[in-house]
Symmetry: C2
Subunit: 133 residues, 2 copies
Amino acid sequence: MFYSNPLIYIDIHDSEIPWLKLFTHIPYKEFSECSREEKEMLWECLDLIEKEMLSYFKPEKINIASFGNMVPRVHWHIMARFKEDSYFPEPMWGMKQREGLLPVAPLELFLQELKVKLEICLERGKHFEETLG
Amino acid sequence: MFYSNPLIYIDIHDSEIPWLKLFTHIPYKEFSECSREEKEMLWECLDLIEKEMLSYFKPEKINIASFGNMVPRVHWHIMARFKEDSYFPEPMWGMKQREGLLPVAPLELFLQELKVKLEICLERGKHFEETLG
């Protein structure tokens, strides 16, 4: 687990591309079952991670997806996509296009910087906790 | 165009499954470039459409995705997925699993009902317009 706050946690997905997964601690099946606070936390985090991925990795495009068909527990994928990755312009679940040879900037430094930015969300999380009582 | 308000519009994607696509009128490349009002409108609409799809179609799972790799303009897919559809449990961009034979409830009635519910968002859209000045 790369990051956790009272409402959500973030995992790193092992891939050739920068790819994170967001989960609520409570295992809902569908996104609309989340509380207002959890939804807002997920949206804020997706927005923040996207901005950080864009600024750090300079990808061709950001991809976001929520499927959960195999394991029916809602979670969100956020991926930095590059013209040279193995699947572009297909989604990462599509047909492989090539052997991706990707000179991606180191993930560790990105994660360090992202964690600092996510503290802002964590503070909001604390605020939500107080609101929720 | 199935539905439009001052911030976003919704298209019907021709598919065996119930599948809608959400766009902002302003063609941004990435989601994080949208204004706060546009983001909130998209989130509210995704949440509302998901709930309506769940209640009307009783699908196995809702799938949501934003890619835009071919045409770099951010938009959101929302899909009602069924065990019997051609790709389940793969995403709709994955490997075909079978010839889907889907006894899906009529889309027309769903769209009629959804449009009524979306008026709530439209009213919010008007509110946003006033806020934006």
